[in-house]
C-alpha cells in the first residue's frame, strides 16, 4: 500500500495533487487547510500491528464515568503498567494480570454494580441511581423482569463492550439476571450480578484490535469499524466510544473519509478531548512517578503532599490551556509564562494566589518560562533533599527528545556526589569533579550541561541565585546550542529538531497502542513534517494521526493469528 496518510492528512501535507485527490478542503473542522507544498514525505508503510491492550486505570475510570456517572466510587483496581518505549500506554499490550489484580477488579466491579442499582438513601445522601441508569421499571421489584433486564443489558453492554451485543449474548446475560433476581428475590440485585460480570469480561477489560480484510487493498487487513472506534476513542478521549461513535462505526461511516473526518472532528471539538490530552501528557511526562515522590520536610518544608499533587495538575492545566484552549505552538510550551496557580504552589513560587486554581502569568523577570521551570519537572527530577542536574538533563533528553541516556555502569562510584567534598559548594563543582572519571563522563556530558542550567531552581523548584553562597553559573549547551540561563535552555529546546518529532512518536504510539518499530518511521516522518507545516498545533496532529490510514490499517506480524476464513475477524494475540 502506497497511500501514506488518509485523504485528510494528505490534504494537510499538500500531497493532494500528487495523489490526484481533488477537493482537499477542511470544511468539517472549519479550518483552512494547511499549506504544505514543500512537504514531500513519501514513503511506504502499511499500518500498525493488531494488539490486545489491557485497559489502563484512567481509561477504566473515564469509561465508567461516561457510562454510569462520574460520582461512582471505583477505587484504583489496576496495577501499574510497565513503561515501554517512553510510555505506559505502550506497555499495555505486553502487560499481564495477576490473580491479585483480578481480585481488585472483582471488588471494584462489585462496588460499581452495587452503586449502579442503588435505590438511594436521603439520609446517606446517596442518589437513586437505578432510577436513571436503568432505562425501565421492572413489573415487580422482587421478581425477574426479562424485558427490562434485556433493555438495560443491550444499552449498557453496548457501551461497555464497545459494540452492539449479539442477541445470543443478550439472551445469556438476561438469563443470568433472571436467575439472580429469582434467587435473591430482587430484580436489581439480579441485574447487579450481570453488571459485575460484564465489568470483569475480557471483552470489556481488554482493548482488542479486531481485524478484517481491507476491501480497498487486496490481501491487506484493517481494524474492524468497532475496533477503529475504540482506538479513536481511547486515543482522543481516554475512554470507550460514545453512542454516536459506535453508530458511526456500525453504519460504515468510519470507513468513509468524510465520515471518519467528521467523527474525528467531533471528538476533537468535544470537551472530552481534555481527558485524552491529559492522559497522554501525564503518561509522556512520567507523572505516575509522583505517586512515589516525596521531599525531605526539613529541607523543603513548603513541599507537602498536596504541593506535589498540585504541581502535576499545574503542568497538565498549562498543557491543556496552551495546546488545546489557545491552540498554541507545542514548542512554546517551553517558553510560555502563562500557567495556573493554586494556594499550595504559590508559596513555592513566591507569589500571591487566589482561593482554588487561578490563571497566572509570571512576570518577565520571574525566571519562570515554560514547563521546565515548573515545580513538576524540577521537583520530580531531583533528589528528596537536593536538586539534580543529571536527573533533569536525563529527563529532558529521554522524555522530551526521545533520546536514550545509558544507565550508569554497575561499578560506578557515586560517593563523589552522594557524600561530596564539603568544599565543593555547587552542583557544577561536584559534577565537574565527578566527571573527571571517564567511566562517568561519557553520560554526564550529555545530561549535565542541560541540567546545570536549571540549578537556579532547588530540589523543590524554588528559585535561587546562589548555592551555599556561591553565584550559580547556568551556562550550558544542548546539542550545539549554547545558553546562559534556564530561559535560554527553554529556547534551545524550543528550537531542537527532535522536540516536535518526539511528540509525534509518542502520540502515534499512544494512539496505536504500542511501541514504534522501524516500519513506523515513514509514518512518523510524514506526520512530523505535517505537524511542522501545521504550526506545531497539537489538535492538528491529533487529527492527522486519527484520520491517517496507518491508524486503521493493520500489518501482519509473526505474532498475529490469521483465520483461515478471510471474511472472519481476527483477534491479535
Amino acid at each position: 500500500m502506497k497511500v501514506l496518510l488518509s485523504r485528510s492528512v494528505v490534504c494537510a501535507v499538500g500531497l493532494a495533487a500528487g495523489f490526484g485527490l481533488a477537493g482537499c478542503s477542511d470544511a468539517s473542522s472549519g479550518r483552512a487547510a494547511v499549506k504544505t507544498s514543500s512537504v514531500t514525505a513519501v514513503a511506504q508503510y502499511a499500518g500498525t500491528p493488531a494488539r490486545v491492550r489491557r485497559m489502563t486505570q484512567s481509561q477504566y475510570t473515564n469509561t465508567i464515568a461516561y457510562v454510569f456517572g462520574s460520582d461512582l466510587s471505583i477505587g484504583e483496581p489496576f496495577a501499574p503498567l510497565p513503561r515501554t518505549d517512553g510510555l505506559l500506554a505502550s506497555g499495555a499490550s505486553s502487560a499481564g494480570m495477576t490473580a491479585g489484580e483480578f481480585q481488585q477488579l472483582q471488588r471494584s466491579a462489585s462496588a460499581i454494580a452495587t452503586q449502579v442499582v442503588d435505590k438511594g438513601n436521603l439520609g446517606d445522601r446517596t442518589s437513586p441511581r437505578r432510577d436513571f441508569l436503568v432505562p425501565c421499571k421492572p413489573a415487580a421489584i422482587d421478581a425477574p423482569d426479562d424485558a427490562c433486564a434485556a433493555k438495560f443489558i443491550r444499552q449498557t453492554g453496548r457501551l461497555l463492550f464497545r459494540h452492539t451485543l449479539p442477541d445470543a449474548l443478550v439472551t445469556e446475560l438476561t438469563g443470568n439476571a433472571h436467575k439472580g433476581a429469582a434467587e435473591l428475590k430482587d430484580f436489581y440485585a439480579g441485574l447487579a450480578t450481570v453488571i459485575e460480570g460484564m465489568l470483569l469480561d475480557p471483552g470489556v477489560l481488554l482493548i482488542t484490535d479486531s481485524t478484517e480484510p481491507d476491501p480497498a487493498h487486496a490481501g491487506k487487513r484493517r481494524l474492524t469499524a468497532n475496533a477503529l472506534a475504540s482506538r479513536l476513542s481511547f486515543f482522543l478521549w481516554d475512554a470507550a466510544p460514545d453512542d454516536e461513535l459506535l453508530k458511526a462505526a456500525e453504519s460504515g461511516a468510519l470507513y468513509t473519509k468524510k465520515g471518519r473526518a467528521a467523527a474525528v472532528d467531533r471528538m476533537i471539538a468535544s470537551p472530552r478531548l481534555e481527558a485524552g490530552v491529559r492522559a497522554f501528557f501525564d503518561d509522556m511526562f512520567g507523572f505516575e512517578e509522583f505517586a512515589v515522590t516525596a521531599k525531605d520536610p526539613k529541607t523543603y518544608p513548603m513541599i507537602t503532599g498536596q504541593t506535589l499533587l498540585d504541581s502535576r495538575e499545574q503542568t497538565l492545566r498549562t498543557v491543556v490551556d496552551h495546546l488545546i484552549t489557545r491552540k498554541g505552538d507545542y514548542r512554546d510550551l517551553f517558553l510560555t509564562r502563562n500557567t495556573f496557580i493554586s494556594p499550595t504552589l504559590a508559596p513555592v513560587y513566591g507569589v500571591p494566589s487566589s482561593t482554588g486554581w487561578s490563571a497566572y502569568e509570571f512576570p518577565q523577570d520571574a525566571h519562570r518560562a515554560g514547563i521546565l521551570s515548573q515545580i513538576s519537572f524540577l521537583a520530580l527530577h531531583s533528589h528528596p533533599a537536593r536538586s539534580s542536574a543529571t536527573k533533569r538533563g536525563k529527563a529532558l533528553r529521554e522524555t522530551l527528545l526521545c533520546q536514550k541516556v545509558p544507565p550508569p555502569p554497575p561499578n560506578v562510584d557515586f560517593s563523589a556526589v552522594e557524600n561530596p567534598d564539603p568544599t565543593l559548594r555547587t552542583a557544577r563543582e561536584r559534577l565537574t569533579r565527578h566527571s573527571v572519571n571517564p567511566v562517568c563522563a561519557g553520560c554526564h556530558k550529555i545530561t549535565d550541561p542541560i541540567g546545570l542550567a536549571l540549578e537556579t531552581f532547588d530540589g523543590a523548584g524554588r528559585y535561587r541565585d546562589t548555592e551555599k553562597g556561591v553565584k550559580l553559573d547556568t551556562s550550558g549547551s544542548l546539542d550545539g546550542k549554547t545558553f546562559n540561563s534556564s530561559e535560554g535552555l527553554g529556547s534551545a529546546l524550543h528550537d531542537h529538531p527532535q522536540l516536535a518529532s518526539c511528540l509525534v512518536k509518542r502520540m502515534y504510539s499512544f494512539g496505536t497502542g504500542g511501541p514504534l518499530s522501524n516500519a513506523d518511521t515513514p509514518a512518523v516522518e510524514a506526520l512530523s513534517a505535517a505537524f511542522a507545516q501545521a504550526g506545531y498545533r497539537v489538535p492538528d496532529l491529533l487529527r492527522m494521526i486519527a484520520v491517517s490510514d496507518a491508524f486503521s490499517e493493520v500489518v501482519e506480524t509473526p505474532a498475529a493469528v490469521k483465520t483461515a476464513d478471510a471474511g472472519q475477524q481476527t483477534v491479535a494475540k
Partner: protein, 374 residues
C-alpha cells in the same frame, strides 16, 4: 517559631523571644518578600506575655494557684449532709463568674512577683511596680502578668490555656490578625514605615513538618466585618525590630474557646516585633479595660475548662481590680491594666479588595495618637 514563653527554659529573654526562625536553607532559595516596599504577616500563634522560669520560684514565690472552681465549690459546699439546691450551689457559682464581686472572694489567689517581666515600657517611666525585661530594659509595664503569671492554666508548655492558645490562633480563622508594613526601604533599618492592622479571611497552611505555618500564603482582607480591626500606625525598624508609636486604641481579633469571635480591645497600643522575610514575632502591648477583659475571659471559657487549670475566675477578677494601673475613673480608681500579648506571625501576601469596594466600606480606621489618659 513559638516565642520563648515556655517553661523549661532557663531564661526567657526578650531577645530570645524575638529570635526568629527562617535561616536560609543550604540551597539559598528564599524569596525577597518585600514587594513594592511592602510586606505583610498573619497571626500564626500567640500567648499572654508571662515571664516564666523552669521551677516558677522567681516569679511565683508564693506558689502556683491551686484553687479553682472545684476547690472553691468543695470548700463552700462540703459534703456534710446539708441539703442544697442547684440554684444556691452550681448556679450561684456560675453567677459568681459572670457577676463577680470583688470583695466577696476570700480564697487565696497568688500574684506573680519578682523583678523580671515581659512586655514594653508603656508610660516611658520606671515605676516601683514595673518589671525589668530579661535583656535589661527597665520600666516594663505588665500588671496583667502579676494577675495571671501563677496560673498553671497559662504556663507553658503543658497548661491547657497555653497549649490551646497556639492552636486557637492557627485554626480559628477569626483570629487571622494581619500586620502590613508599607513604605519599607529595609527590613533591617528604616526610620519611617507605615503599619496597618487588618483581619484576614483565610486559613493558614501548615508546612510539610506539620509543626509550622508555611510562609508565602495569601490572605484576603476582611473589609466588611473586619472594619473595626483596621488600624494605622507609624513605626520604625532598628536592627530588624519594628517598634510602632502608640495608637489610641486597637481591636485585635481574638477567638478562644469554641471560636467565639471577640477582640482584645487594647488602649495606647503599640507593637515591637522582630522581622524577617518569613516570620515576625514580639509583643503587642497596651492597656485593657479590666471589665471588658474579664468578660472576654468569662465568655471564652466554661467553668469546666477553668477547672482543669485551677483557674478561679472570681480570683482573677479580684486580682485585676487590685492591679489595674491606668485610666482612672472619676473616683480615681483605675479601670485598665497594662498588658502584653506575645504574637507569632508568618509572612503572607495580601489580596486587597478593589479600590471601589474598599472605599465603599465605612471608615473605621483609628489614626488618633494615644493621649496621656493614664
Amino acid at each position: 517559631m513559638k516565642h520563648a514563653l515556655t517553661a523549661g527554659f532557663s531564661a526567657f529573654v526578650l531577645g530570645a523571644a524575638l529570635s526568629v526562625a527562617g535561616a536560609a536553607s543550604a540551597d539559598d532559595a528564599g524569596a525577597n518578600n518585600v514587594r513594592d516596599r511592602s510586606i505583610a504577616y498573619a497571626v500564626s500563634g500567640g500567648h499572654w506575655g508571662l515571664y516564666q522560669t523552669a521551677d516558677g520560684k522567681a516569679e511565683c514565690p508564693d506558689g502556683i494557684n491551686e484553687v479553682g472552681p472545684r476547690e472553691t465549690f468543695k470548700a463552700l459546699f462540703p459534703d456534710d449532709g446539708t441539703k442544697r439546691s442547684v440554684v444556691e450551689t452550681q448556679l450561684a457559682r456560675e453567677a459568681a463568674i459572670w457577676s463577680p464581686e470583688e470583695r466577696a472572694y476570700n480564697f487565696p489567689y497568688h500574684h506573680a512577683g519578682g523583678k523580671v517581666g515581659l512586655g514594653l515600657n508603656l508610660d516611658g517611666k520606671v515605676g516601683p511596680n514595673d518589671f525589668t525585661s530579661p535583656d535589661g530594659e527597665k520600666g516594663i509595664d505588665n500588671q496583667l502578668f502579676r494577675a495571671l503569671g501563677c496560673l498553671r492554666w497559662l504556663r507553658g508548655p503543658d497548661g491547657i490555656g497555653y497549649h490551646f492558645s497556639d492552636i486557637y490562633m492557627r485554626e480559628f480563622n477569626y483570629n487571622r490578625g494581619l500586620i502590613e508594613l508599607t513604605n519599607v526601604d529595609s527590613l533591617a533599618d528604616d526610620p519611617d514605615v507605615d503599619v496597618t492592622i487588618y483581619r484576614g479571611r483565610d486559613a493558614l497552611m501548615a508546612d510539610a513538618t506539620g509543626a509550622k505555618i508555611m510562609p508565602g500564603g495569601t490572605q484576603r482582607i476582611d473589609t466588611k466585618f473586619g472594619q473595626k480591626f483596621i488600624t494605622h500606625l507609624k513605626g520604625k525598624i532598628v536592627n530588624g525590630v519594628l517598634t510602632t508609636e502608640p495608637v489610641k486604641e486597637m481591636y485585635w481579633p481574638f477567638a478562644w474557646f469554641g471560636g467565639n469571635p471577640g477582640a482584645q480591645h487594647i488602649l495606647d497600643m503599640r507593637m515591637r516585633l522582630k522581622l524577617t522575610q518569613e516570620r515576625a514575632n514580639g509583643f503587642i502591648a497596651g492597656y485593657e479595660n479590666i471589665e471588658e477583659w474579664y468578660y472576654g475571659l468569662a465568655r471564652g471559657r466554661s467553668t469546666h475548662h477553668l477547672a482543669y487549670g485551677s483557674v478561679s475566675a472570681p480570683g482573677i477578677y479580684k486580682a485585676i481590680h487590685e492591679l489595674a494601673d491606668a485610666y482612672p475613673d472619676a473616683s480615681g480608681k483605675n479601670t485598665a491594666i497594662s498588658m502584653a500579648w506575645g504574637t507569632d506571625l508568618t509572612q503572607v501576601f495580601l489580596k486587597k479588595p478593589p479600590k471601589e469596594v474598599a472605599e465603599a466600606a465605612p471608615a473605621a480606621s483609628k489614626t488618633e495618637r494615644a493621649g496621656d489618659r493614664r
